[in-house]
């Protein structure tokens, strides 16, 4: 059995009208992990999921899902899927939705009967089992949607925007369901632009921008080298900033930072190589090692300053996302949406990909 639930290379999709939704995606998702795919609107996330679920035929895509070719229909009996903006027939009752889609996934009647009750309980919809879908709120439909995706006891679950329209309690429930599925050894693939949700639940994430995977890995891997400490002092900003700059030579710096260096340029560096930034009454040091900030703290206290806070800062997924969304050449934020074939950005990205950047 393949150790990978999803193993695809060169997934590409060009729609009519030359819209390039996917431009050669390579992705590997291990079994038993919660994998998050994030990206701005129109990045191609849903297109990728739809290719995996045979809803869309790719222009090219090699690889496997649960060890079988991507287009293999039989494999889908082992996969659960919650589409984005799904719409179940309004005439069906909650239990009927699960029963119907369970049957379509090939689940026997006896098993369906048992699973319906279990899953309605799991998603907190037992009291609504006999109510018609048209009476449900959006969040309730989402819960039922997740339940139907689990009817066939899948090895791989693909959830496209699962928390869309769900209240905070519901989101917590969905997170717990995802964690539970992972604990049971199932693979969960979540497609979302709600970064905080993904951060809380995902083992690994991939960031997709304009049809390509820009970054991929664990959150720790992706934030490596970007963790830092923040030291905030008490006092008026001007004098305090000057005071910080004055005491820094005493702890040994290779280069003094300029005031306001967080705005780009003018970063300083410690002798051990870590970067330094000064802004208002805050000093930032680019290290996750507390030993390296101890001399600075001592110097600041020794010079009579009062320290308000010291905290280790790890970049959030949002920080990562925003950094990914920045065009490395122009510094501008990349506009959401797919790109047309032969467009300026397309040509530039292709060049970047050849150079191994993407």
């Amino acid at each position: 059995m393949s150790e990978l639930a999803i193993d695809i290379t060169n997934a590409a999709k060009t729609y009519k009208g030359k819209i390039r939704a996917l431009r050669g995606v390579d992705m590997r998702v291990g079994r038993g992990e919660v994998f998050g795919l994030l990206g701005p609107n129109g990045a191609g996330k849903s297109t990728l999921v739809k290719i995996l679920m045979t809803v869309i035929s790719p222009s090219s895509c090699e690889g496997t899902v649960l060890g079988n070719p991507v287009t293999d229909k039989a494999t889908l009996s082992r996969v659960g899927y919650l589409p984005e903006h799904h719409r179940f027939p309004g005439y069906l009752k909650g239990w009927q939705v699960l029963d119907f889609y369970g049957a379509m996934a090939g689940v026997t009647r006896k098993v369906r009967k048992k699973r319906v009750d279990e899953l309605l309980e799991l998603v907190g919809m037992s009291d609504w089992r006999k109510k018609r879908i048209k009476q449900y709120s959006k969040g309730m439909r989402q819960r039922i949607g997740i339940a139907q995706a689990l009817m066939n006891d899948p090895e791989l679950v693909l959830l496209d925007e699962p928390t869309d329209g769900v209240d905070p309690m519901g989101r917590r429930d969905i997170r717990e369901i995802c964690q539970r599925l992972r604990d049971e050894g199932r693979t969960v693939f979540i497609n979302s632009h709600l970064l905080s949700e993904l951060e809380m639940v995902c083992d690994r994430v991939a960031i997709m921008v304009q049809g390509k995977i820009a970054r991929q890995g664990t959150i720790e891997e992706l934030t490596e080298g970007q963790q830092h400490y923040e030291i905030e002092l008490v006092g008026d900003t001007g004098p305090v900033s000057n005071a910080i700059l004055e005491i820094l030579p005493s702890v040994g710096v290779k280069q003094l930072p300029r005031y306001g260096s967080h705005c780009g340029g003018g970063r300083g560096a410690l002798l051990s190589g870590e970067w330094l930034e000064v802004n208002l009454s805050t000093l930032r040091i680019g290290t996750d090692d507390p030993e390296k900030i101890r001399p600075i703290l001592s110097a600041l206290v020794g010079s009579g300053h009062t320290i308000r806070t010291v905290r280790a800062h790890r970049p959030s997924l949002e920080d990562l996302f925003m950094a990914t969304m920045e065009d490395s050449e122009t510094g501008e934020t990349i506009k959401p949406g797919a790109i047309g074939q032969g467009s300026r950005h397309d040509r530039r990205s292709a060049g970047a990909a050849e150079g191994g950047v993407a």
Partner: protein, 393 residues
């Protein structure tokens, strides 16, 4: 797995139609029509409705047996009016949404991400649409069968032929509706466009009937004039013999003996010239209408034969003899009367033209009617399957 999925889709199709209410409305209307059918009757005095009898010395059970009366009612309005028009429109309205709902955004992704091939998914949905049309015809036919048995005193299982015939007829339209539903994704658009196509087919059928009736009328006229010419020639021959026996010759204006037989006949009976001219006109007219009739038939070959398909039930239930008897009683003209020269009025109005038309219509092969129509349906479904299996949703 196939059985589990098919059963689930069948139950879902039932729930969907059940939710639409229109299915049950149509079912209820079917039963009302059966009740009306049962209310009609024929006695020795004349036709009856409920407790009322309408005295009629020509239309009563002495001329038309109750058995034939109920058969005629069934094939004259039960099938062509109710099942072929009203119930079919209602069935189309009930089922037109099946394909657009299937391919609606948000719904289709969940369906086609299941382990079922797209072609099987589509064809199963299509078949269930037909099944519900079949259920309606079955209810109607069963009701009419009981009425014919109880009121007409005859057990006519042939009535149930209405089920496959009407379902076939419905399937030709439903295949178009399904294709349009797939292309437009709109129930209303697919329904309207199907109705328009149905109307066009109806117009082609009406043109066919009109052209055929005119052709038949001219054909009968040619036959009548040919007969008259033969009679005139016979009489002319007799006249020539009389003249020759009297010692006189058949001479032209210059007093020369006429050698050619036709010229001799015309000289003996000048009316032959007029008949010949009339025959030439009639033949020319017949050939023109025959050409147009062939063209219409060619056009019809590529279209579904809705009218003829329903007409198969007439062939099955009412024999030619029964039909001829009924026509004669209705018009007072003997359809075997070969005095076709008396035919006049609009095309098809004369019962002898109608009888010949019926012969022509009934002479059209079942293979041609159903074969070409099923080919049309197969093309429609083939296009549906191709589009459905290749489309990105």
């Amino acid at each position: 797995m196939i059985l589990t999925q098919s059963m689930a889709m069948l139950v879902d199709a039932y729930r969907e139609l059940n939710a639409r209410k229109l299915f049950w409305v149509t079912m209820g209307l079917n039963l009302i029509v059966v009740v009306v059918y049962a209310s009609l009757g024929i006695s020795e005095k004349g036709p009856t409705f409920w407790i009322w009898t309408f005295d009629n010395q020509f239309f009563n059970s002495k001329f038309i047996s109750p058995e034939l009366f109920y058969k005629i009612q069934f094939v004259s309005w039960g099938t062509p009016v109710w099942l072929s028009w009203v119930a079919t429109i209602l069935a189309l309205v009930s089922t037109a949404g099946i394909v657009p709902d299937l391919v609606a955004g948000g719904s289709i992704e969940t369906m086609i991400s299941k382990p079922i091939s797209r072609v099987r998914l589509f064809l199963t949905k299509y078949t269930f649409g037909l099944m519900f049309a079949a259920m309606q015809v079955l209810v109607f036919s069963t009701g009419c069968f009981l009425v014919m048995w109880i009121r007409g005193g005859v057990i006519e299982p042939g009535l149930f032929m209405a089920v496959p015939i009407v379902v076939l007829f419905f399937s030709f339209l439903f295949s178009v509706c399904a294709l349009l539903g797939l292309l437009t994704r709109s129930t209303v658009a697919s329904l309207l466009l199907t109705m328009i196509l149905w109307f066009l087919i109806f117009a082609v059928n009406a043109t066919d009937a009109l052209v055929l009736a005119t052709k038949v009328q001219n054909e009968l006229r040619v036959e009548a004039l040919t007969l008259r010419l033969e009679n005139q020639n016979t009489k002319a021959d007799e006249r020539i013999v009389q003249i020759e026996e009297s010692g006189e010759g058949i001479v032209d204006g210059d007093g020369n003996e006429i050698e050619d037989l036709d010229d001799r006949r015309q000289a003996a009976n000048p009316m032959i010239i007029r008949t010949k001219n009339n025959l030439e006109d009639a033949q020319g007219s017949f050939e023109t209408w025959e050409m147009w009739s062939d063209r219409v038939i060619l056009l019809k070959t590529i279209l579904p034969k809705t009218g003829e398909t329903i007409g198969l039930l007439d062939r099955y239930l009412v024999t030619k003899d029964e039909l001829a008897k009924l026509m004669a009683e209705n018009s007072g003209v003997d359809v075997d009367d070969e005095d076709f020269e008396s035919i006049n009025g609009p095309p098809g109005a004369d019962p002898r033209v109608q009888a010949r038309l019926q012969d022509e219509m009934r002479g059209r092969g079942v293979g041609w009617i159903l074969g070409t129509s099923l080919l049309f349906e197969a093309v429609m479904l083939g296009m549906c399957c191709l589009i459905f299996s290749r489309r990105d949703f």
